[in-house]
């Protein structure tokens, strides 16, 4: 989201103003609460007007999100949030359009709208709460559920190879791709702010614990004990260091990443992250398919490409400049017309 006509110095609202009067009906302990809180904390810092924010969602636990925000909100139908948001943004480019969606809503039934929005590059921010389960419908496996996962629809274990949402977004040519998690409020706030400031579609995969139907799915990355060794945080221009004692790093052997021990290697050997490289984003996005590699978080990719609504407006502007503003009566009389006289 870029500089905006209604941008002001003092937004005049706080996180508290963003709470709606609706009781929040997520399960106690649900990761969604933290995400809501981080978003409510981040928005007032952006310097934009409250009435310009619109939260559009599909259907799912996550998609109840708009009800809890005292902004404009549209709780759509399952899978179609991005399509609704795309139309809204195309028609009304001044709005600050956010999509809140789930792994099922976004990647299962909504997969087509997702990949097309990626390539068309609307300036919308898509926050996908990934709990690797269909929660609202009480626990079926989702396109991000892991192989073998036992759920209500896979009592003998899921046999699908899951999507890697970051990989899919990159393959669909999204211009901003990031990953964060419910349990790291600071990182999540930063990532949301980055997404908001990106001019073009931002896709943020947010690991979210569903403590009812898929509890602990991300413990490896969120538990104090295991987090340091199993996560790596991507920062533009910085070498990839991780581990409990910051003792490990990632270097590239050609195009293949390797985990190295910093007691044996210098930091200078490490891969210095560049968020403008599609190749690097791709290489790191599925690095953790291989055992021993950490899960990357942060902004994988951030590149510039004209947004769809800008192009649309530009084209309209150019035509009006060239052909003049449309005149309905002239339009009706275009081409072959003839007059019949009073007789």
């Amino acid at each position: 989201m870029t500089t905006h006509p209604t941008e002001t110095e003092q937004p005049g609202f706080t996180a508290k103003d963003l709470a709606s009067d609706q009781d929040i009906r997520w399960c106690p302990g649900c990761g969604d609460y933290s995400i809501l809180a981080q978003i409510q904390r981040t928005l007032p810092t952006l310097g934009l007007k409250k009435e310009d924010f619109v939260f559009v969602s599909g259907i799912g636990c996550s998609s109840r999100f708009p009800y809890y925000m005292n902004t404009y909100g549209f709780h759509g139908i399952h899978g179609r949030a991005i399509a609704i948001a795309s139309g809204l943004k195309s028609a009304h480019p001044n709005l600050l359009v956010w999509v809140v969606t789930g792994d099922g809503d976004c990647l299962s039934i909504g997969g087509n709208h997702f990949i097309h929005a990626c390539r068309k590059n609307f300036d919308i921010n898509v926050l996908m709460f990934n709990n690797r389960i269909y929660a609202l419908t009480k626990g079926q496996y989702s396109p991000t559920s892991v192989y073998g996962q036992k759920t209500r629809s896979t009592p003998y274990g899921a046999i699908d190879h899951p999507f890697n949402p970051v990989l899919l977004a990159i393959g669909a040519e999204c211009t901003f791709v990031a990953r964060s998690m419910d349990r790291d409020p600071k990182h999540l706030q930063e990532t949301i702010a980055r997404a908001a400031n990106h001019h073009g579609m931002s896709f943020v995969e947010i690991f979210q614990n569903c403590n009812i139907f898929n509890d602990g799915a991300f413990d490896l990355y969120t538990d104090k004990e295991t987090k340091p060794d199993h996560t790596v945080f991507l920062e533009h221009g910085k070498p990839l260091v991780f581990g409990k004692e910051n003792n490990k790093g990632i270097r590239l052997d050609g195009f293949r990443p390797q985990v190295v021990d910093l007691s044996e290697h210098s930091v200078n050997d490490l891969l210095v992250f560049d968020e403008t490289s599609k190749e690097l984003a791709f290489i790191l996005a599925h690095m953790n398919d291989t055992p021993g590699f950490p899960m990357p978080f942060g902004v994988f990719l951030s590149i510039e490409r004209p947004t769809y609504e800008d192009e649309m407006a530009r084209q309209i502007q150019a035509v009006i400049e060239k052909e003049g503003k449309g005149d309905l009566m002239k339009l009706l009389r275009e081409g072959n017309t003839w007059e019949i006289k009073e007789n």
Partner: protein, 623 residues
């Protein structure tokens, strides 16, 4: 009775009888590559400018470019013109121009007995005869007895006329449709001027081609003039049409223009979310040219995205449209339900085609009425309108938008492939003929309630970006007034009934049902949609024969006009011709307990007036 006289300069000149006709129907038919659509539309333009009323119907093959000479590659264009008000592209052509054997074979059955046939005799070679599955040459085997056949070596004559001007053989052959056109102009006593002018403009950058076409056109005309082949010429005088400026429009053009006009009338930016599908795509094509009207066309990834982007745009304060045909309509139904629940204004246009499933994708049908009225989950009522003629598409589109805005509701407008591609002269409206359909946005935080209702039972339209009106909408049941989510049982019943009441309230905002003909009679022919023309023509013929008959054409299909029941009760019998298996007839039974005779035609072809006339006559006889 042609005779020749000698002119002053010694040349022989034919004297040909000119027969005055009230109306004529001609059909150009040839290979897809023969340019028959162009020929037809030129004849149409000229005829329109001559002041006739007219109606046209193109008939394309389903294939993009079928192999030449085949039966399924035949392309046709029919034109009906008259010195009176007419309503259809004509029952059966009086004249068939057949550029090859396949064109003859496919079209002959429609020609009226004793009709004229002009064939390009050069095309009747062994190969083409075989491709057309003729065992023997119809020009020789006597099978055309009963028609007046004129064999004209069009290819050779065109070649001769264009020889030496520097065109390739292929280019020369391509001009032969202009020869045929010229000949027809002669035959129907039309001016060459409009087409000569068109050629000059169109091929301004290709002077050789322009010259070739010009010569071919002249050659055809002169062929009529000079040879003794034709025994007479025809003349159809101008019709007495209301004064004013006219143009010819197809239904799809008129729909696109209606969309632009509706946006102007509503003083709103316009948005179309659509996915291409035959026969609706032209609406998208047309609108994508109208960027100077600040109109946004969005070609979506599928029909669902088409309507959902439109819903998003409507939420954002645009006048939003989505266009499609049958199968695409089915895909949009879930989202239509969302528009019903969120009570956003939206116009959904379904250009009906032959079904079920992919069916007959290039052919018209009227079998989506049920789908329009009933095709969603839950109690999901919405207004359904249908356009009656190509030009009427313009007005009904504005009507649909007017109702959508005034009642904050999605509205379905049904047209069909016949209206979409057919054309008729259209008396162009002036700005003051157009209604003001604008409605105010909500802006006052002190009184705003998302689901408060005005006297039309319509809720306020509060566009994101408006300070202080922040609120949430969505597909879950809404609490009366507050618009928050409500699972309250009685609220649900209230809201279901409210949504229905709102749609029924549209009755107060639509015109009463009108009747063509007497208010009471033995028979009313009751129709909807594109069969308007055929029914009207049939009714007129029956009236001329002194029959007690009227035509009731329903443009508002849900809710029906308030007075419809009493109108229908004015007739002893009802005949309902439909291009389906009886959908309107079913609705009339259910709504009014009124029995009617069905006349069902599901052949991918529009009704002929004579079919309706016959069915009506039979009923009248049996009374």
């Amino acid at each position: 009775m042609p005779t020749t006289i000698e002119t002053a300069d010694g040349r022989k000149k034919k004297v040909v009888e000119i027969i005055e006709l009230h109306e004529a129907t001609i059909r150009f038919a040839g290979d897809s590559g023969d340019g028959m659509q162009l020929t037809g539309s030129q004849f149409t333009a000229t005829t329109a400018q001559a002041g006739n009323d007219l109606s046209t119907l193109p008939d394309y093959p389903a294939e993009i470019r079928a192999p030449s000479g085949t039966l399924y590659g035949v392309s046709g264009f029919q034109l009906h013109f008259s010195d009176r008000d007419i309503h259809t592209p004509g029952d059966r052509p009086d004249l068939l121009i057949a550029m090859n054997p396949a064109a003859l074979k496919v079209n002959l059955k429609d020609l009226r007995p004793g009709g004229y046939i002009i064939v390009n005799s050069d095309a009747f070679d062994a190969k083409n005869l075989r491709l057309a599955q003729y065992a023997t040459n119809p020009l020789e085997d006597g099978s055309l007895k009963g028609y007046q056949v004129f064999e004209v070596p069009i290819t050779k004559l065109t070649t001769a006329a264009l020889e030496g001007i520097g065109l390739s053989m292929k280019e020369i052959t391509r001009s032969k449709n202009f020869f045929a056109l010229g000949l027809c102009y002669w035959l129907y006593n039309r001016s060459l001027e409009p087409t000569l002018q068109w050629i000059a403009e169109k091929f301004a950058n290709k002077p050789l081609i322009a010259e070739g076409n010009r010569r071919a056109l002249m050659a055809g005309y002169n062929f009529g003039e000079m040879t003794e082949v034709f025994t007479c010429r025809f003349n159809v005088k101008p019709a007495k049409l209301p004064a004013g400026w006219y143009r010819n429009v197809t239904g799809n053009e008129a729909t696109a223009l209606g969309i632009i006009a509706a946006c102007e009338c509503a003083r709103l930016p316009g948005f179309l979310g659509s996915y291409p599908i035959t026969p609706a795509s032209e609406i998208l094509h047309e609108l994508s040219h109208y960027k100077r009207f600040n109109f946004r066309t969005f070609q979506a990834e599928d029909e669902i995205a088409g309507i959902c982007t439109a819903i998003g745009a409507a939420y954002g304060g645009s006048l939003a449209f989505t266009t499609t045909s049958g199968p695409g309509m089915a895909l949009k139904q879930e989202a239509i339900g969302l528009a019903i629940m969120t009570e956003l204004p939206l116009v959904i246009i379904n250009v009906q085609r032959g079904g079920p499933s992919t069916g007959l994708p290039t052919k018209p049908e009227q079998a989506d009425l049920f789908q329009a009225v009933f095709g969603r989950n839950g109690e999901a009522p919405l207004p359904v309108l249908a356009a009656a003629s190509p030009a009427n598409c313009f007005w009904m589109t504005i009507e649909a938008a007017r109702i959508a805005l005034r009642f904050m509701t999605p509205v379905i407008l049904l047209t069909d492939g016949y209206l979409a591609n057919g054309s008729e002269p259209w008396l162009l409206p002036d700005m003051e003929d157009l209604p003001d359909i604008s409605i105010p946005f909500a802006t006052d935080p002190s009184t705003f309630q998302p689901y408060a209702r005005n006297e039309d039972l319509s809720r306020p339209w509060a566009v994101p970006g408006t300070p202080g009106l922040e609120h949430r909408i969505g597909g879950l049941e809404k609490k009366h007034l507050a618009g928050t989510v409500s699972y309250d049982p009685l609220n649900h019943q209230f809201m279901c009934e409210m949504r229905r009441a709102k749609v029924i309230k549209v009755q107060d905002a639509i015109p009463d049902q009108t009747v063509f003909g007497p208010e009471t009679a033995d028979l009313a022919i009751v129709g909807w949609g594109g069969s308007y023309g055929a029914i009207r023509a049939a009714t007129e013929r029956l009236m001329e024969k002194g029959k007690s008959v009227a035509h009731v054409h329903i443009k508002y299909l849900h809710p029906f006009p308030k007075n419809l029941e009493s109108v229908l009760r004015g007739y002893k019998k009802l005949l309902v011709p439909e291009m389906n298996l009886g959908q309107l007839s079913f609705l009339l039974r259910a709504h009014f307990f009124i029995e009617s005779e069905k006349l069902s035609k599901v052949q991918g072809l529009p009704f002929r007036p004579s079919e309706i006339e016959e069915a009506a006559a039979k009923i009248l006889e049996s009374m």
